[in-house]
Amino acid sequence: MTIAETQEALLAEFASCGDWDARYQKLILLGKALPPMPEAMRIDANKIKGCQAQVWLFPEWKGGLVYFHADSDALIVKGIVALLVRIYNGQAPAAILSEPLTLIDKLELTRYLTPTRANGLSAMLKQLRLFAYALQARQAPA
């Protein structure tokens, strides 16, 4: 699936939630479903600055594609990072850097994201794209 297709699919999943409580519950469940992050990766170097809760993000590259390990000690934040992981996992760096993130606005999640959390989201996205950028630079012919 492309980044756009994954976002469409997630949008449809959230649309089937009745009310805001159900959406939050869905977000929390997505977070809980993240594969456990190996303890060795839960280190300060992999922490994202700008979030009130602790968030760890660690990339892996396989065959020119990027895969992310992520975790947080807060459930909603973990849900948000899980959304991002689902959207960007297994994508090429060029796609991660060029395709827009539309889901968060369409879900109207930002309506409920206070600036602290919204900033945390932009910090996560920035870090994710930095990883993609680093990989792209590494792949570029010398």
Partner: protein, 413 residues
Amino acid sequence: MESPTLAKPKESALRAAFPVLSRKVHGKPLVYLDNAATTLKPAAVLDAMDHYYRHGTANIHRGIHTLAEEATAAYEGARDRVAAFVRASSRGEILFTRGTTESINLVAQAWGRGALKPGDEILLTGMEHHANLVPWQLLRDATGAVLREIPVTEAGELDLGALPGLLGERTKLVAFPWVSNALGTVNPAAELVRLVRQHCGGKILVDGAQAVSHFPVDVGALDIDFLAFSGHKLYGPTGIGVLWGRESLLEAMPPWQGGGDMIKTVTFESASWNELPHKFEAGTPAIAEAIGLGAAVAFVEETGWETIRERENELRRYAEPLLGAVPGLRLLGAAGERAPVFSFNLPGVHPSDIGALLDTEGIAIRTGTHCTMPLHARFGLSASARASFAFYNTRHEADLLLQGLDKVLRLTR
């Protein structure tokens, strides 16, 4: 749940004074329980500030024209109000600052640099807000002084038994919060002062940021040397605070910032200082904010301490057992004397989740460390959620908080 309204005067009238209380958040009536971070502002404060800008903007002290004289009278009138509010012995003892933080930094720099020698001791507590800790760390680094700490018990109270052993010839300053911003503990200030005076000749600074909105203060009766507090936690605007200092001490202290208004005469080579309080107020001050603070003090006095204390005590007594009954909820501290401030944790739920989910219900609380990282470390926590009440809050709002916490538990289970 049945929520009988509190006693006289009418709750609705008290609440009507605060315009923000009529707004909605996410479609729900705002439940403002973040009063320890900043209180809401009554219309009287907003009107006083608006009036200054709309009818009389002028700089103070130097102008000869009507607007300047009116502005000076309003600004200095606010100082008189504050002086009476804390029972200062003269208006010169009231210095306007940006807030508690700046007040404490002023003492650390203007008093501390001259008063402390290597090895001298500053005694603090384990429940300091960072504003009453970091300025002393900076002073320690500049002077070679040593920081010591009165420990905090499991109940969230100061271990007074340890105090005499911490006081000695080298104790030059004892600084403590009258009310803990995280625990709500009301420290026994009079008892602390008595013990300090008995065992050493050190100066005493009280961080009154969380105290002045809850009960009346009499700096003379308390026999302290410095009191720092903020306007914005006292129903006043941000950007204005107070340092009360004993006049003899302030007289002996050098200025800490140079500029206009704080001087008597200036030549190119040197300057002589203006008298108190102006010696410590360099530059154009926060005029509108000072006027707003004066209005806030008048508002508190008109509302009456009896009303404020009665309502806050009743809210605390009502909310505490309700919170205690939430499954798994861990309340920080259990001091006998406390302000209506509750820091807590829920098992398996990060405080930021509690705050975010309560926000969807229109309920505003604080999450994080509340600028008390050492205190959180003492309780083995990295963060907590804090609900803090003011006299305009209601039992019904405490009920809504409980319903909100039920929702948090339901959604995060």
